[in-house]
Symmetry: C2
Subunit: 333 residues, 2 copies
Amino acid sequence: MRHRLKDVAERAGVSVKTVSNVVNGYPHVRPDTRAKVEEAIAALEYRPNLSARNLRRGRTGIIALAVPEIGLPYFAELARHVVDAAAEHDWTVLIDQTNGSAEQERMVALGIRDHLIDGIIFSPLALTAADLATGSERAPMVLLGERVHHGPADHVAIDNVAAARDMTAHLIALGRRRIAAIGAQHTAEGVTARLRLAGYTAALTAAGLPVDETLIVPASAWHRTDGAAGMRALLATGTRPDAVFCFNDTLALGALRALHEAGLRVPDDVAVAGFDGIEDGRFSVPTLTTIAPDKERLAQVAVELLAARLADPDGAPPQERLVDYELRRGESA
Amino acid sequence: MRHRLKDVAERAGVSVKTVSNVVNGYPHVRPDTRAKVEEAIAALEYRPNLSARNLRRGRTGIIALAVPEIGLPYFAELARHVVDAAAEHDWTVLIDQTNGSAEQERMVALGIRDHLIDGIIFSPLALTAADLATGSERAPMVLLGERVHHGPADHVAIDNVAAARDMTAHLIALGRRRIAAIGAQHTAEGVTARLRLAGYTAALTAAGLPVDETLIVPASAWHRTDGAAGMRALLATGTRPDAVFCFNDTLALGALRALHEAGLRVPDDVAVAGFDGIEDGRFSVPTLTTIAPDKERLAQVAVELLAARLADPDGAPPQERLVDYELRRGESA
DNA sequence: AACGTTGAATACAACGTTGTAAAGAGCTGG
DNA sequence: CCAGCTCTTTACAACGTTGTATTCAACGTT
């Protein structure tokens, strides 16, 4: 049987509360008492029962990170940084996979698991502000990545429109004129896609270039395979673009693959740009030109916001924070 | 304020226990009573306090998955499958990052966080069987990936030696004779590395080929950057190999990159093989020939073993289970 | 009509912890 | 030597849930 405070107390010859005081670092404990208690703790290998502690304290020390898919490099890298940032607060991170389904995201937003978590960092794919309308009492939430306009929760993101505009402008500056985009989503859900598309068209328009609908390729998901399929579709039309802006890096890696199979050279024949700054892009052949958000900072800010909200639930009105990004040049564009 | 069983009970005009019975699906509840209670639950948006439930039941419904780094594709993909498999048991997965440090792994093994988790699936990098010696009472543990010889816990893995032998034999069958290996680790910790190296040398010996120490390149970590560095080091010696067996896929991707930078063609000049079957390898240029363990099955078996151990802690003696792998041919070898 | 049997609902205690309030111990200064 | 401190330790209750034992009602059987 596992040991409890009571067992430690009996062995040390003190009260249960004194042991609790030692465990929690309460200052007014005589050194010799403390020593006795610590001896007993060590001898019995006592470890607090967190369920009981949580029940009593009303906090669990666990925060959730909800992402579409933990297997995707971007989210995996993000998760790593969130785990690191949360460790600073002695928080444990529980990872929730929503698979990008509105259904599962709604469950997360509704706090199906609240009472188990103190707060949640949520990277929604499909949900809109309306879905997020806070019910009466819910664990504090920080939204990542999307600009859910004036949603009811704190929010951290990069400026997707500006970043997409920058990247497109970069391609234009390289002398490219027929610039395709892969990853458009015309559904209500594709918030990110819409923002990046907006930046793309803005840059084209600013440069006096036409927005050619046939160069805008939709992708329901943003996996490598979708990027490859999109690129193949584009090439199949016969009108070859001289550059492709993919709305994330995995799409871009898929596109690189399809271009390679088609016998086209990157960037000579077609320049390729991505978005997300994942590690893979630094080692692909060719290396990827991409928008690299400061993921570490993103995670830090998210955790900070959550901490503030936890300390004072009704403190400030919902915050909107922007995090820097960098246009990282690789060989692909 | 959040609602409790008591609030629901008052609203429905029944006892607290009756509400609890409804919540838990206890069969002997009259339909009209059940209806009243369910109405109250819905109206108050009642959700059970899991801390209290856990305290009472002695279970938390949470299992931990401890991996070196969640940002690495292999572990990210594995995590995805574990989360899916755990969902079948209504378990939530908490991901622990050990960063491959023996220190942090020991903490996990010692169950620093037990009492919060019902069990743990552990993919150790640095720990040996000795470190894992179970203390008196600890959450059930399933080991992943390494053959910690007759450790005290259940264990799932693929046959690393056989897989490495197969891959090396494959390279030999392609007509390669100077086959390098990247990823060797001569420290006590590198169990996996040692097994894969054993398979490699076994295949060479079986084919009557010499084991050339200068072709065996160590790598302290197995990231892309280490693979690139290893490959460069290999090329710098002046004696070019005609094939490279990298002990995991990220090393291989790094090696591909370094070969590309050196102006060498893959597989014409140098064949490259990896290990792990990560998604990236299907889209790299060239695509990667690799050992692809059945990760989904691996996760399923691990979860099953944990479930069995949880149901009956002292049931069977520690199990050793092997999971199939596949030599997946890509363009690189 | 008394009986056991089954079904439905309840009261109570317990899970292990910590906050509160209060008691005990040891000290200082008058 | 006692009043009035401060420091240390304690008893008790409470967090919200569920298992056990119990009560109460309704039913069919003899």
